[in-house]
């Protein structure tokens, strides 16, 4: 038995037969195990030791022991390969994690940049909105200006004021027109002023238009009055001043009006009638100033249409009383002082308008 083992050992030692470890040695030396040799050198060394043990056991004639050593070598070789693969996976994982960190950094930078951009965009949008509002306001202002500026901005209260002013101007225009007619103005001369008064009355919904038309009517009526005066033989120069002085001396109140020089007299009325004694003095005053027509007007404190009717009745009563006192009827016309012209504090007064003066 010893002799056989010795011969086998000699055969192996002299390379006389294939070693049982050869396939695993070939595997261990192959490229497939290069990573295992490099990254798990301790295990690779254990593999080689096991293979040596297997060869020794085979040489010693113990194939069962050789198989056990080969099994151990195979397990260790697989362990070395698994270890190498683990190291590769760990390295790959670290590389991926580093890449993930870089990607996340980039994403965070982008997100910060986006947040900054959005903040800037919000500021730009706000600025743009403010600018658009400015431009819109400018456009509106320009449109207002094109429509007539003030009109778009007047308040309800201002509108009411404008309407009252328009009514007053219309009444004044009517009085001047009446004076012009009394002085002999032709229909052609008064037509335009009459049309302007009508236009002012029609423009009730637009106070500015009504006011403008009333104002125009006043100017036109004044022109018509001027034209009629130019054709009429009027009072001598300075007669107007003497009329004022005479009125003051009589205790009357002189008033300068567009339609002529006026004299206001208190205490002429009693109810709807007149006080005769005072009428005589007024009639004498009129006779002293004989040029041109005279408008007899009356004003009462009573408001509304009833006040207007009472004023008209008093004016007519005074006109008749003056005719009765010797004043030429052709020279006189009667009218109530329009409500629009009464002023803030209406009085019980008679007014004589010498339209030629």
């Amino acid at each position: 038995m010893r002799r056989v083992a010795l011969i086998a050992a000699l055969l192996v030692g002299c390379g006389g037969g294939p070693r049982p470890s050869q396939p695993l040695r070939t595997r261990l030396a192959a490229d497939e195990s290069a990573a295992a040799r490099e990254r798990a050198p301790e295990l690779a060394a254990q593999v080689e030791a096991a293979l040596d043990d297997a060869d020794a056991a085979a040489a010693a004639g113990s194939p069962e022991a050789a198989d056990d050593h080969l099994t151990r070598a195979r397990l260790l070789l697989e362990a070395a390969q698994a270890e190498a693969a683990r190291i590769d996976d760990e390295r790959a994982r670290r590389a991926v994690e580093e890449e993930v960190a870089r990607i996340r950094d980039r994403a965070r930078r982008d997100e910060r940049a986006r947040a900054a951009l959005e903040a800037e965009s919000a500021r730009l949008a706000a600025s743009r909105s403010a600018r658009e509002e400015q431009l819109a306001a400018l456009r509106m202002a320009e449109e207002d200006e094109a429509r007539g500026g003030r009109r778009a901005r007047v308040s309800m209260e201002e509108t009411a004021d404008l309407r009252r002013a328009a009514a007053a101007l219309r009444e004044r225009a009517r009085l001047m027109l009446g004076a012009a007619i009394a002085l002999g103005a032709t229909e052609e001369e008064t037509a335009e002023a009459t049309a302007a008064i009508a236009a002012s009355e029609e423009a009730r919904t637009d106070a500015l238009v009504a006011l403008r038309e009333a104002d125009r009517a006043g100017h036109l009526a004044l022109e018509a009055l001027g034209a009629a005066r130019s054709r009429t033989e009027g009072p001598p120069e300075g007669a107007g001043r003497s009329l004022v002085e005479a009125a003051t001396a009589e205790g009357f109140t002189p008033v300068a009006l567009p339609e002529g020089a006026a004299v206001e007299v208190d205490g002429l009325f009693a109810g709807a009638g007149v006080v005769r004694g005072r009428v005589e003095r007024v009639a004498a005053f009129m006779r002293a100033h004989p040029h041109g027509p005279v408008q007899v007007q009356a004003q009462v404190t009573q408001a509304g249409a009833a006040g207007e009717r009472l004023a008209a009745r008093r004016a007519e009563a005074l006109r008749r009383a003056l005719v009765g006192a010797g004043v030429s009827a052709e020279r006189l016309t009667a009218a109530a002082i329009p409500t629009a012209l009464r002023g803030d504090e209406p009085r019980e007064v008679a007014r004589l308008v010498f339209v030629a003066y």
Binding site: D68, L76, A85, R86, L117
Partner: protein, 146 residues
């Protein structure tokens, strides 16, 4: 007095001998087998044990063979068990590493999606800012018109 002391020394010696018999001497087949059993248990309880199931089975079988064998055969069987549990440990570790790599790749995918979304949002914000700037320049300032 002396016999009592001898009895005490004898008892202490017997106790020490009994303790020595409970844990096998280091380097013996029994001690190595015990060590392998402990390593097997740790692999079984740790993550990645599924990938090491075959190697663990091999180690258990080798331990059984070592228990049945004697002498050199038992020594070789324990050596095989040691190699098998080493393989099991490496396979489990490799499975954990593979799992970590997979998770890292998934994280990378998520990070790339987030980065793509962030870049897209950034480009959109850039376009929006450019649009607003242009609109602002086109809307000439009132002062400039005067």
């Amino acid at each position: 007095m002396l016999p009592r002391a001898l009895i005490l020394v004898a008892l202490l010696g017997a106790t020490s001998a009994a303790s020595a018999q409970d844990s096998p001497a280091p380097g013996t087949v029994e001690a190595r087998a015990e060590d392998v059993r402990e390593r097997v248990r740790r692999v079984e309880e740790g993550r990645g044990s599924d990938a090491a199931e075959d190697a663990l089975g091999h180690a258990r079988r080798a331990l059984g063979a070592a228990r049945r064998a004697e002498g050199a055969a038992a020594d070789r069987a324990v050596s095989i068990a040691e190699a098998a549990v080493t393989l099991a440990e490496r396979l489990a570790a490799r499975a954990r590493a593979r799992n970590g790599l997979t998770q890292a790749r998934e994280a990378k995918e998520a990070a790339m999606r987030r980065a793509a979304a962030a870049r897209e949002a950034l480009e959109h914000a850039l376009r929006e800012r450019a649009r607003l700037r242009q609109a602002l320049e086109e809307a000439a300032p009132p002062e400039a018109e005067e």
